[in-house]
């Protein structure tokens, strides 16, 4: 064993080192609160708000807290646990949450995992529960992992909602989120399958391309399409593409090069949809091989406009941030009389015919700008199309 006895040295040397130690300790003692101050400054308003918006949001919060619409109430804090915190799909979701908080005089925190690590999401939920927030919203991307943290939150008197991904039927009775706000994922897959059928023939190869197989926020879209295509005699196969856009691009192109008889490439997430559009464009496949995307990332919308993609699907991510805040606020301020209810945020097919308004001007609800704007009122055609009248 090494000799652990210290060497006695000149006390003046020791004194110098002690001074340096104390200096460094002082730096740490000052640095941590300063770091905390930086955190506080950066956390006061959504990081994406413009300076003018910051002032407006803060002022609005002050007014509402004084009870101009609702009775005076504490500033409630609602926690959004997310599985891909830095994914651009959820930028409009955060805008929705921020706008709802501004309207109702609340605050929200955006936390969770940036890479769909369930353990991190569970930790984030438990931390929110320990912090005593007023409500939690979580995408239930795992059938069982969120059962315990949800129950813990409920035991602590914190309501929990599910958004963007709902628990499967097999564990629905054990997952006690008050409601689900988002797209009906399986039904969306069914509708997508119905759109694909007219473009292919019996026996054709259709690839279902999915970033993370098994993940509850996207797997049901594959399952829904499969339930339509396979009984119709379509050779429907599922192919994983990876969670990163660079991975997806390579995976999709490699799949096409190895399966040049594929007739339709059906993507169930925006990254894979972009990859499909890139592959179709790069190899000049428009009209010969069809593809589809999901959600309303600008590259996908442009691909729909150019014809590289037959359609994409809008699930209104903005509402998946706005509605949880509204429901939790009303539930809290009414003592539970206004209960959150399951809300389908929509399944809207974007095709070449109706993609125009999405690309005409940036909008906060699409996440393409931080500015609050008023867009031209919907045309009669849009209204009738949304009502199911062509």
């Amino acid at each position: 064993m090494p000799n652990s006895e210290p060497v006695e040295v000149d006390p003046r040397s020791w004194e110098g080192s002690r001074r340096r130690f104390l200096r460094n300790a002082g730096v740490a003692a000052l640095g941590i609160p300063m770091l905390g101050g930086l955190v506080e400054t950066l956390s006061e308003v959504p990081a994406d708000a413009s300076t003018r918006d910051r002032a407006r949001l803060t002022k609005t919060n002050d007014i509402l807290a004084q009870g101009s619409v609702f009775a005076s109430h504490p500033t409630y804090t609602f926690n959004f646990v997310n599985h891909v915190t830095t994914n651009p799909f959820f930028v409009p979701t955060q805008y929705g949450a921020a706008d709802a908080c501004a309207l109702f005089g609340c605050k929200y925190q955006w936390t969770g995992s940036s890479t769909s690590v369930v353990a991190e999401m569970v930790t984030a939920m438990n931390t929110a529960t320990a912090a005593g927030v007023n409500g939690i919203s979580v995408p239930v991307i795992d059938p069982t992992a969120f059962i315990k943290p949800t129950n813990s939150a409920l035991d602590a008197g914190i309501p929990v909602l599910a958004y963007n991904a709902n628990p499967p039927a097999s564990t629905a009775s054990q997952n006690h989120q008050l409601c689900y706000i988002g797209q009906d994922l399986f039904q969306a897959g069914v509708e997508a399958g119905n759109r694909i059928l007219p473009l292919v023939s019996k026996g054709d190869l259709v690839a279902g391309l999915i970033a993370t197989p098994g993940s509850l926020n996207i797997q049901p879209r594959i399952d829904g399409a499969s339930s339509v295509l396979k009984p119709a005699g379509i050779d429907f196969v599922e192919q994983g593409t990876g969670a990163l856009l660079s991975q997806e691009s390579t995976a999709v192109e490699a799949y096409y090069l190895g399966h040049k008889d594929v007739k339709f490439m059906y993507a169930v997430d925006d990254g894979t949809g972009e990859a499909v559009a890139t592959t179709i464009t790069k190899h000049g496949l428009a009209g010969k091989v069809f593809g589809s995307g999901w959600d309303i990332a600008v590259p996908e919308l442009k691909a729909v406009q150019s014809g590289a993609l037959a359609f994409s699907i809008d699930q209104q991510a903005y509402l998946q941030g706005f509605l949880p805040v509204m429901y939790l606020f009303l539930f809290t301020i009414t003592g539970g009389l206004m209960r959150p209810s399951d809300t389908d945020t929509g399944l809207y097919f974007i095709t070449k015919d109706n993609v125009g308004p999405y690309l005409a001007a940036p909008s906060r609800v699409e996440g393409s700008t931080t500015a609050q704007t008023v867009l031209p009122k919907p045309t009669t055609a849009i209204i009738k199309a949304d009502a199911g009248l062509s």
Partner: protein, 349 residues
Amino acid sequence: MSSPALQVPEASVGVTPAPPTTTGPGGQRLRRLIERREAAIFLVAVLLFIYFAIKSPAFISYANFVTLTQFLAPIAVIGCAEVLLLTSGEVDLSLGTVFIAFPFITYFLWANHGFSIGLATAVGVIGAAIFGLVNGLITTMFSVPSFVTTLGTLFALDGAMLLLSNGTQETMTLTGTGGNILGNWSWAEILWAGAAVLLMYVVLHRVRFGNHITATGGNLLGAAEAGVPTRRVKIYCFMLAAALAALIGVIDSVRITTLDPGNDGTLVMFYGISAAVIGGTSLSGGRGTVIGGALGAIVLAFLYDGLNITGVSAYTFQLVLGIAILVAMIANVQLHRAAMSRFGRRVTS
């Protein structure tokens, strides 16, 4: 006339010694504490604790303490495993993937082949140790830098896991006493982690093998010429690190009831290496402290949990966490340099 207790080391020859001072046993003990490599990171941990406790009383609530320990456990185990490896002069980038992947073996043996969960866990851990053996053999027999070896095995293991699992999440729900011991009970994971860290502390600091690890990392040629079996030392470190990473991976999977092959193990690996380094372990080998690694993991856990509980949102979170790690590391390095320059090579450890 010098006090008998005051001995001037060779490095101070030529320096006029100061008049002897009388320092009692309590003062000497305090000085030895402050001289320790871990003193700086301990101070940082205390300051963080105080800061977050003041900022949010919920930080010191029982519920948060449980959450904090659950986040801390895997980082502490992987961090201290990296301490062993870094001290021996190597590094293992695949530990995070081992943490994610080998629980799948346990799961498949238990769910599909009728193994008891204990036996399935043992097989998974042994499998991980064999994986560590492969890392060690490639590194030592073929003289491949461990950075490269473990980078390659990280990808290979990741691919193997995806093939084995077909890329699909699995649910692992255990019940009964076995389930409680293996992760259902709130404190199970941190107790397992504590036992693993204690084992690594004994290995590095309390038995001869620890001397061999330090010698191998500090001076490979000198250690070999002194009769230390340097190759075997490194291989054993790889095996032990992988085995413990797999074990805590099983516990963690049972706790959250899910195994996801799409999970990114590199993040927990980076947390582990960060914990080891900010705790005072040298990246160049020859100097490591398991206590420091554990304290480094505690600092990271305080930061992660504290920032969450005080309401910091995800975008700001990454920025602040990164800066905080840098600040903690700089403070640690400065303090250690001060100790090294004043006290020469011999510093209490």
